[in-house]
Assembly symmetry: C2
Homo-oligomer: 457 residues x 2
Amino acid sequence: MNKQLICLTACLALTLGGANALAARNVILFIGDGMDDQQITIARNYLAGAAGKLVMDKMPLRAASQVLTVSEQGQVVYVADSANTATSMATGHITSRGRIATSAGTDKPLLSIVAMAEAAGLKTGLVTTASVTDATPAAFVANINMRYCENPQAIFGTEVSGITLPDCPAYTKANGGPGSISEQIAASGVDVVLGGGRKHFDMPAEGSSDSVRAQAEANGFTVIDAANQLTSAATDTKLLGLFSASTMPVRLRGESGRKAESPTPSWANRVHPYLGSVTLPAPMRCEPNPEYAGMPSLLEMTSTALQRLDNEAGFFLMIESASIDKQSHERKPCGSIGEVAQLEEALQAALAFVETNPETLILVTADHAQAAQLVPATSLFKEYPIPVYTPGRVARIVTAEDAILAVNYATNSFPYEEHSGANVPLFANSEGLGRVPTLVRQTEIFTIVRDYLSLHN
Amino acid sequence: MNKQLICLTACLALTLGGANALAARNVILFIGDGMDDQQITIARNYLAGAAGKLVMDKMPLRAASQVLTVSEQGQVVYVADSANTATSMATGHITSRGRIATSAGTDKPLLSIVAMAEAAGLKTGLVTTASVTDATPAAFVANINMRYCENPQAIFGTEVSGITLPDCPAYTKANGGPGSISEQIAASGVDVVLGGGRKHFDMPAEGSSDSVRAQAEANGFTVIDAANQLTSAATDTKLLGLFSASTMPVRLRGESGRKAESPTPSWANRVHPYLGSVTLPAPMRCEPNPEYAGMPSLLEMTSTALQRLDNEAGFFLMIESASIDKQSHERKPCGSIGEVAQLEEALQAALAFVETNPETLILVTADHAQAAQLVPATSLFKEYPIPVYTPGRVARIVTAEDAILAVNYATNSFPYEEHSGANVPLFANSEGLGRVPTLVRQTEIFTIVRDYLSLHN
């Protein structure tokens, strides 16, 4: 090859390099709801063994995300919920617990990365194993003062166990608002919305005889209900998949549906903690959850989303494995483990997509930490001849390594555990190198995505 | 500048670069005992604010470390202790809980990075706020089957609260062994050993009328007892600093010595969990611990160690902030926070040292996760008109942001909480880039240090 040819080849490479630099860029943001380091370690031990590695563990960048929230008065609060944390990531703004892309105190709508991507001509998608109206996906597509206002009835106040939860009067259509979360999704331009929550769409829209679902169809959505429609649905429309009435059933459960249980102290031990004995919950295995039958996996939903979103202008896709958190609230470690496995499979598909679409930033993070703790199967204090056991609930799971994985839940004695406040992991593929510092405020995830996609107001 | 001059300058730079590549290399390994992401977040919130950053947060590399342990029979165990984890980092071998650089099952001595560094002519140092005989420093300098065998009496069995803890018969001098941990330290070649644990040296050595301390002096150690001797001690000897009888008192404590406390339910609530009310422990501030007076800080010990170890052949220095863990066992969050602050100050000094000694790898990690959980100051379920509170103990700390930092301890009701099993953070300075992957098995910390210092058997 002569020097001129070398020079020409170099020029061609530079030209193509320049073209690539202008090529479509994509972002895939995975949110493992409640997927903190305890949850990841519990899942790793079960799925890959104590010394094994998960798919996310093999990503080239690991950072941490500072979870931030405030009270309505703007006072610092140290433990967050999924509404304010999704708002941080979707809009770059810190808000109060329960709020969906609206500002604490002043109740103003906050512009989301999905709206910005749409305005710039990118495609957008939201995939979740929760209701599509649940807090995490909602903050990317809706603006409302309270996460419970998921549908045209709930916007006037939801009753749960005889307790009326807060309503969203300023957001009703009667008051000139955009309506409930399901109505805002129906009216949106998001290209792919997949998850559960059919019940929030199968009711009349506010002030209308049409269902919310009918409104979505009128707005150009193909609405599907079953896994087998994922690949057969028309590809020239927006797609709304509603595969279950509410949260999608999870993949795994404890043996015969068992969850973490209270240890049973003997009568002598009830008289004095140094006396008697304790019976711990019997060890159990995780098993397939029969209610999961017929559900599309997070992998299947992700594959459909990637096929539909792949386009020359680029896309933003948020994929949530929601029930890592929800199962932890209910003290069901097998459920949480199965939903980490779902996220892992979807992540593997995203990583495969990037092989042919290198200008794709993949981020994997959690929104907040949870209650579950991996605790010793045999107490550190076993030499002491007294019963040592949790004041909360514990599940003792037999793993493939034939060891006992003990998971403790003890933040309260209410039917649902609390969240916890630790910073959470943030992983990225090689596109994150140089873009994701070792500790980011959760709001910076918005900034990183915005800058990667060159989205600006 | 002509081409020849440019070439000569480049050659000179290459030559100097070559010389630098052969210059002394140092490793400073910080271990925050029990310093998991919950502890770090709790400390960050208190010391720097929810949106603030700690010194460790600003390091250019963040990874995670998989904490691994086994039973004596080699079966996987999911929650570790400080003995086996320090053994992982010091020797690269997974062992069982309680063991100090000896193999599970076979009870063979495991070669530590300190012995390897000494053999290669590097200086070595161990700094801790625990007894220097405690599990973490011990695994770097001693080999023994059980951590409790800290001194010539305990090696025959320790009695705690009427319970006899395991002994170490094969390691007694009477049986031809190397003796207890304090005797092994006294006989060691470590250049700087600083911490607490004087009581383990102020007793006769086994089969001798001399104290262990006298044996240390006979082996070339200058032994000091007070902070003001740190800078005045002879510099041409090894240095053993023993600043307290046992664990060094910690810097911070809860108001009037308060720790996490049980909520007090009303009588009605004791009858049924949906009735009545609960009184949570009153909020408190952290305050200086009067018992800390006169102690050298971890920073002062670190500065002395760095001054004494800095030499042309390089050094290995392990610095442990031990009571992040010990205070968490005792449900004392202010104590843990103060000891994270101590680690931060010492880390800042190490980072300053690196400015003039760039070939120094700094690693900051924890050995295992702990029980403390940052929980909501106001329950996520506050809309429900029933008392929602922890079944364990909670401390509610008022921070400089004038917010309530609620820390829950609920792994058991024993006087000491359990460890937990999550993977723990691993930070590195820029020397770690390309050397520390995003997830390491804890034993790989040994490998990374060994390779950085070019130490090989």
